[in-house]
């Protein structure tokens, strides 16, 4: 079997799954889909699931969402000109297909149709992955809505006519009459953002909608409100449409989530099950450490200086001097260690060794050991033993005597500064970091710290302490070439994909660890991970092809 047939197989495999999922009872409503075949508009409401073949390239959509998140985090005011520009520069640079989907007018060529179809398909695949928790849903809805909004504004500038789009998606916004416009002209002039004189009303049209359909404008007092209706200038059509988009999508995600139990038993879906965890970086709750590594208490002193993010390093050092951490700290650090590969027995040993400096063993066993065991609780139980993401850590409450949280957020600048200097971070980087924290860019500050320590970057940004840790280990162990993350592990796939498909191959585990690329080691880890790895491989090969 050659490489390409392998890939085709994977493709086929996923196509079937997606089609089947969306034709299960839970999703079956109107089966005949007409929109899809034509893709008349560049933008979509994704109201109906796709049919037909799917190739794995469609996951690219995730890269757009990531790009948007990154740009939002980097401090460009949302919806500003600059923000738009950054987004599409990024898309252009990475040759994202979405650019072709947004061509308007003239004859639609093959490319355009294909791009729109990809947009459609990948959106639906991502829905399956991102419907699984409140946090994921919120993230997905936020980025998708931003993407939608940015694209809408862009095609509007290119002169797109939205009338058929509105019609296809059943969006009716009624325009006010000439008379009403005249009657309310003073109010409209005073209350509408960007309109400062009655003359400017001349060639304007206004939609009159229930105020709940224009919440963003209401919130910022940018529209005229009367008796529960908002008078939205046609130039703000985008706000109206994206509000509907947002609420439809969030309903759809909830519906998908509710339908999951019915479809999740399908073993072929396994690969999608943990998709989010590996691709949002927001969840490291797999029973094994995500890096596939194991660490021991003896390694922690060293690792904390080389590979721990600042938050964890800080707690580790505190523990070394005080031999105690309050509950918040035990949770944040304990779950991090679990995901970093510290086994339960070792964890108990580690915590015991510190705590018993202040108390007798009996007290430790009675008061503290239980909770540590609990953190390693049985899988399948619906309690949250997930190690905390940066988002969670940054927004956590830090009270008196607590030393958890994110140092970039929760430390006073002078303390943070001193700490960084002690860690031998050069003074201009220290200043840059302090500057970033003042602007509330904590995760970017953390990224700078990473760069200072590794002379390499985390391209996707820091989202999770465990991600920080894994990236660091990968670089320090040379399993990953700095800065060229995606390109190296490519060549060996043909071999690994094909062998692992026919057998779970424990024998290969004996290979020289240094030679194994990150993805491969995961491949051979055990049977369970086979599908995951297939998936991973397919994604990366497509990115590179």
């Amino acid at each position: 079997m050659s490489f390409s047939t392998g890939k085709a197989m994977i493709t086929y495999f996923h196509t079937k799954i997606i089609m089947e999922i969306y034709s299960t009872k839970a999703f079956r409503r109107k089966q005949k889909i007409l929109v899809e075949s034509s893709y008349s508009s560049s933008l979509q409401f994704y109201s109906e699931p796709p049919t037909g073949n799917i190739t794995l390239k469609e996951f690219d959509e995730l890269s757009f969402l990531r790009a948007i998140e990154r740009i939002n985090l980097s401090g460009h005011a949302k919806n500003s000109e600059e923000w738009m520009q950054k987004i599409f520069e990024d898309f252009q640079k990475n040759k994202f297909f979405i650019i072709s989907a947004d061509k308007i007018g003239g004859t639609k060529n093959e490319d355009v149709i294909n791009a729109r179809r990809k947009d459609h398909l990948s959106h639906f695949i991502l829905r399956l992955a991102y419907c699984r928790s409140e946090e994921l849903r919120r993230w997905f809805v936020a980025q998708e809505t931003d993407l939608f909004r940015a694209r809408f504004v862009r095609v509007a500038k290119m002169g797109a006519d939205f009338s058929s789009f509105l019609k296809e998606n059943n969006l009716h916004f009624s325009q006010i009459s000439e008379e009403e416009l005249k009657q309310e002209s003073v109010n409209l002039m005073m209350a509408t953002y960007n309109i400062n004189s009655v003359d400017q009303l001349e060639d304007k049209t206004f939609f009159k909608v229930p105020f709940v359909e224009a919440l963003e404008l209401v919130r910022n007092r940018k529209v005229f409100l009367k008796k529960g209706f908002a008078y939205v200038p046609s130039s703000d059509l985008v706000t109206l449409v994206s509000t509907v988009f947002r609420s439809k999508l969030s309903q759809a995600l909830t519906a998908t989530y509710k339908a999951l139990p019915q479809i999740e038993d399908d073993e072929r879906l396994y690969s999608l099950k943990d998709f989010d965890k590996r691709h949002t970086g927001s969840d490291y709750s797999q029973k094994k450490s995500a890096s596939g590594q194991q660490i021991t208490p003896e390694m922690l002193n060293h690792l904390s200086t080389t590979s721990f993010p600042l938050c964890m390093r800080h707690m580790h050092e505190y523990l070394n001097t005080q031999h105690h951490l309050k509950h918040g700290g035990r949770m944040q650090y304990g779950l991090f260690l679990k995901a970093a590969g510290l086994k339960l027995e070792d964890a108990l040993k580690f915590w015991r060794s510190h705590f018993t400096k202040n108390m007798d063993v009996d007290k430790f066993e009675k008061q503290y050991a239980y909770n540590i065991r609990h953190n390693y609780g049985k899988e399948g139980k619906r309690t949250d033993y997930t190690p905390y993401s940066c988002m969670k850590i940054i927004t956590t409450n830090v009270g008196a005597g607590d030393c958890h949280g994110c140092p970039f957020k929760h430390n006073d600048s002078n303390i943070l500064k001193q700490k960084l200097i002690n860690y031998q971070v050069s003074s201009d980087i220290v200043n840059e970091i302090l500057d970033l924290t003042n602007k509330h860019h904590y995760q970017i500050a953390c990224q700078r710290y990473f760069e200072a320590k590794h002379h390499s970057t985390i391209e996707s940004g820091v989202n999770h302490p465990n991600q920080y840790f894994e990236e660091s280990v990968a670089i320090l162990h040379g399993t990953k070439t700095p800065n060229k993350a995606a390109s190296t592990p490519n060549i060996k796939y043909q071999h690994s994909v094909l062998t692992s498909q026919s057998q779970a191959s424990p024998s290969t585990q004996s290979q020289n660890a240094a030679d194994i690329s990150g993805v491969e080691s995961m491949l051979f880890d055990d049977d369970d991970d086979m599908d995951d790895a297939l998936f991973e491989v397919a994604m990366q090969t497509d990115v590179n092809s």
Binding site: F211, V212, L215, E216, V218, R219, N220, R221, L225, K226, K227, G228, F229
Partner: protein
């Protein structure tokens, strides 16, 4: 009923059972919260809060379904608390309130009431004195009760002009004793200088305000930032200060109308927005007043007294009348909704 005498908190445990046994307007209350029982299971899904002594909020639960109680819908509520005005009032501070600072409340009620009716088109709004130093607004239109969290916060933010308080307002330091403190709100040194010369000559706040206005008017052409200065100062001083988090969620509980404030013993009485300026929070009856009043009434008119509902024998009567008027408006909306649920439509 007129009383400035101190309420004796320790009596509360003895008085509350009497109040809830004899005086609390259950009938009207049920009528309110069942909203005509559309949908039919409405009332059992509601959550209520009454405060007992020491700020213990009683949140009765349906014991059959103890797990995850999520209110299905809730009125859109507003909470205006006098303590948020501490930086702009000079008569009292903290929990205290007097007739002078009540004006802030009256202004707030007036502005919010107009905004909610004119801009948002709500019709069924109940304003309730919170028993000590604040006002609660309950917007009860069906349209308001079903608002999403996102929508609630948008409405609240639309109405909240003075924002971002905490760390900024504390920076405004009112220290100079011979200046009127408002002057520190004035960003321009030249204007501030002028004002500090003329202000001491004024003898009441009306004169002071006129002086400020005139001075600003005189300088308007010089600086662009002066265009809105008068209005801005006005807004900062008297615009409603909302506890916006209360309005945002659907989980936040406000003390119910006609409950008793645990510290002051006063009844949380509803009042009409149009009467806000005339409302005197210090004259709101306490639970002891009410019980005394019933006793007095029964003593003097033994024969007929039996037939009269007890609250009608007290000074709470007028507040219940306000409530009933509010309810009759609401019942029209409920009737229309009931028709609709049964598949009728109003033509």
């Amino acid at each position: 009923m007129a009383n400035e005498k101190k309420f004796e908190v320790h009596l509360l445990p003895d008085l509350l059972p009497v109040y809830y046994g004899r005086l609390f307007p259950y009938e009207q209350y049920y009528k309110w919260l069942s909203y005509g029982n559309v949908p039919k299971t409405y009332f059992p899904h509601r959550e209520f809060s009454f405060t007992l002594a020491d700020d213990i909020y009683l949140r009765p639960k349906d014991h059959r379904t103890v797990t995850a109680f999520v209110p299905l819908e809730k009125e859109l509520v507003f909470d205006i608390d006098m303590t948020d005005y501490d930086e702009v009032r000079y008569c009292c501070s903290g929990a205290d309130i007097c007739l002078l600072c009540w004006k802030y409340m009256a202004v707030a009620v007036e502005i919010l009431d107009i905004g909610l009716r004119e801009d948002f088109g709500f019709n069924h709004i109940l304003w309730v004195f919170s028993g000590r130093r604040g006002v609660h607004g309950w917007v009860c239109d069906a349209r308001a009760r079903s608002l999403s969290q996102l929508a609630r916060s948008a409405v609240a933010e639309y109405l909240q002009v003075v924002r971002g308080g905490e760390n900024q307002t504390k920076k405004v330091i009112f220290n100079s004793s011979d200046l009127h403190p408002f002057i520190n709100l004035i960003p321009d040194p030249e204007l501030r200088e002028n004002l500090s010369k003329v202000m001491p000559k004024c003898c009441n706040s009306l004169q002071r305000w006129e002086t400020i206005k005139n001075e600003i008017e005189g300088m308007k052409n010089k600086k662009k930032s002066f265009t809105h200065l008068t209005t801005e100062i006005m807004f900062q001083l008297i615009y409603p200060r909302l506890d916006i988090n209360v309005s945002k969620g659907i989980n936040h509980l406000l003390k119910s109308p006609f409950s008793i404030h645990p510290k002051t013993g006063r009844v949380c009485v509803p009042f009409n927005a149009s009467d806000a300026y005339a409302f005197n929070p210090l004259r709101v009856p306490t639970i002891s007043d009410l019980i005394e009043e019933v006793g007095e009434f029964d003593k003097t008119r033994t024969g007929e007294a039996v037939k009269i509902t007890d609250y009608k024998k007290t000074s709470m009567k007028s507040s219940i009348f306000v409530f009933e008027k509010f309810l009759s408006g609401l019942s029209k909306e409920n009737a229309a909704r009931r028709l609709e649920e049964n598949g009728w439509c109003m033509i």
